[in-house]
Amino acid sequence: MKKISLSSILSQLLLLFFVIVWLIPTFGLFISSLRDKDLLAISGWWTALTTTEINEIYRMSGMEAQIEEDGYFKIKGTLFEENSGKKIESFGINSKKINEFMIGDIAIFKNESEVILDQDGNYEWRSKSEFQNKKGKRLFTTSLSPPSFTFENYREVLFKEGIGRAFVNTMAVALPSTLIPLIICSFFAYSLTWMKFFGRDTLLAIIIASLVVPLQMSLIPILSIYNDFGALFGVAAKSYPGVWMAHTGFGLASTTFLLRNFLKSLPNEMMEAAKVDGASHYDIFLRIIIPLSIPAFASIFILQFLWCWNDLLVGLVFLDQVPSEIILTAKLKELLGSRGENWEILTTGAFVSMTVPLFIFFALQRYFIRGLVAGSVKG
């Protein structure tokens, strides 16, 4: 280590500040997705490791549960779910006085029935006369909950909220939407680099211009083409192949541009030598270009895949918003609207949608950065 100077300490602190500010939002989301949903709703995620006080309302069982014992009619039960770990501090039988009784007190209702409660939430409600209540009375509890982490949110979100299916759908959109442009653009870039034909330079200029054309310019006409196509052949206007081709269209210019930049850097002599040996362009492409281009393919694959995986607009416009077609981002947006208060669902759903990008990010960061630095310009 070099000598420690004031300016070096200051830069370390400044960088640390940036790192913390940048990390906290994602970290909070991750912690929240693992927290018990009741705790999540009433306390900040930064208190996840401390005990939280919760006020809740429970309803005891009704008359069907009553048994006769020691001259009393009794209804017994428990308020909390198993292993909740919650400890009751105080309780009440009236919404205006929720802390009226302590554990061990006997609370007496107007109809002279009594209830006792232990701190684990087991209650015994008894009365001299037979219970007539169809529904049980309400109990207001104030309890302390220990830190509680669970994968329950993930199970809920994946299987009940449709995020699991949306995950599959997103994969079915993103994979072909990445491979198809890679396939057709590698041939395109090859011909733009190594084949001579009329209009090549114009085509190249068009590609460069297309790099920055915003995809909004294409939405209305393509939607109308799809509608006409669907009506003409009696098929659905919105379909997976439609989305693939749209993504292919929007990714075409940047994929071609990046690939061509790479191919241009390959030595010309190699192609010439192969040609002299009687290799056709297709031979050259398969035997020389593809093996040499693997790193470039990897970079471009990652860029385009992440783009398609994270896209919202294309999936929104060119797919029906039904369970069998909706993509993750659209689903998340839908949940933001319909389950805006259910943070356990939102945070978990968001984290599920981030798993694949984060995996790619950590496993293949080198290629990702290389692709970006190579000049990703996307319309």
């Binding site: 280590m1 300016s7 830069s11 400044l14 640390l16 940036f18 940048w22 994602t26 709703a41 306390s43 079915a172 994979l175 396939i183 057709i184 653009c185 041939f187 395109f188 084949m195 330079d201 200029a205 460069i208 211009a209 297309s210 790099l211 920055v212 915003p214 995809l215 909004q216 310019m217 294409s218 939405l219 209305i220 006409p221 997976y240 693939w244 081709m245 269209g249 075409l252 210019a253 071609t256 056709s280 362009h281 297709y282 995986w309 919202l312 607009l313 416009v317 981002t329 998340l332 947006k333 933001l336 939102l346 945070t347 790619i360 990010f361 950065i369 970006l372 630095v373 310009v377 996307k378």
Partner: protein, 327 residues
């Protein structure tokens, strides 16, 4: 559609393109090369085989739509009757449009500038610190996640509960602990735009950071050493050597982020859906694509306004490309 069916069509879709290239080239290989004439025919057909799929896609999804959108902007909502400049006149007089274009301009001013600035500062800091690459990874990470995912992350930070409740949003919790009233941040006009921009800056700083990091390595070490020996402070080096040296890179990154910001849609759509005066052009356009059964005229005008924003960049790119070709 069941998952199995889905898997099948995915497989089929990809296979289709591989098969196209393989079969057509296989046929060409077995046809050509037997005489000079055949060789020439083979070569010209080969060009077509190589180019056709990409060219068709380029034509159908980019070239034709650009001209069609321009045409539609002069037609009525169904694209049937010519209405001249009617849609443009509507736009100029529409308060929503004015609000959107104003917001877009503020976005364009704030986001690329701050992202580039933070990216440059962080790249410079991280370059000289031993744990710099870990720091870079962390700050770069938001680049990998979706705008909607980022939206959820930040909506959680901006979450608002009434003053009597425990705040579960980080920002309000800090505000309350400092003794202020909690705020519903996303509903405060004007300011809410900046809370949305913060998300974009949080994401795009990573992009600026990695490109700057690569560029920093190209600065000759001797130059920096010489300056340090002469007693220049790090701040002075930053402003007098690094910034001038990276001028080109700064411009490239600034343009790159400008293009991304110009068509920003997802964040606003997910967070506020353009309410509380946060709308931008892309959101207004999406709205008009479907509002009242869809209005292709107005939607097209809005797309064109976004397009106008990139035309200077487009012209500059073409100019630079032409320069490179000459060399």
């Amino acid at each position: 559609m069941t998952i199995l069916n889905l898997l099948f069509i995915v497989f089929l879709g990809i296979l289709f393109f591989i098969a196209y290239f393989h079969i057509s080239n296989y046929l060409l290989d077995s046809y050509g090369g037997k005489s000079v004439k055949r060789y020439n025919i083979e070569n010209s057909i080969r060009v077509i085989v190589f180019i056709a799929p990409a060219f068709i896609v380029l034509f159908v999804f980019i070239l034709y739509p650009v001209f069609e959108t321009i045409r539609l902007s002069f037609y009525d909502k169904f694209g049937r009757e010519f209405v001249g400049l009617y849609n443009y006149k509507w736009a100029v007089n529409d308060p929503e449009f004015r609000r959107s274009i104003l917001n877009n301009l503020v976005w364009l001013l704030v986001v690329p500038t701050l992202s580039t600035f933070f990216g440059l500062v962080i790249a410079n800091l991280a370059d000289r610190i031993w744990w710099g690459s870990i720091a870079k990874s962390i700050i770069f990470m938001p680049m990998a996640i979706s705008f909607v995912g980022a939206g959820v992350i930040w909506k959680f930070i901006y979450e608002y509960r009434g003053p009597d409740n425990t705040q579960i949003g980080l920002l309000n919790s800090i505000i309350v602990s400092l003794g202020y009233e909690p705020q519903a941040w996303l509903t405060i006009p004007i300011w809410n735009n900046f809370f949305l921009m913060a998300i974009m800056i949080w994401i795009q700083t990573g992009l600026a950071l990695v490109i700057f990091s690569a560029a920093l390595r190209s600065i000759p070490k001797e130059m920096l050493e010489a300056a340090r020996i002469d007693g220049a402070s790090e701040l002075k080096i930053f402003f007098s050597i690094i910034i001038p040296y990276l001028e080109q890179t700064i411009l490239v990154i600034w343009t790159l982020i400008t293009i991304i910001v110009l068509r920003i849609f997802d964040i606003i759509f997910a967070m506020t859906n353009g309410e509380w005066q946060t709308g931008v052009l892309a959101n207004l356009m999406y709205d008009w694509m479907f509002r009242g059964g869809g209005d292709s005229g107005r939607g097209s005008v809005l797309a064109i306004v976004i397009m106008i924003g990139v035309i200077p960049i487009l012209a500059w790119n073409l100019y630079k490309h032409r320069q490179e070709q000459k060399i």
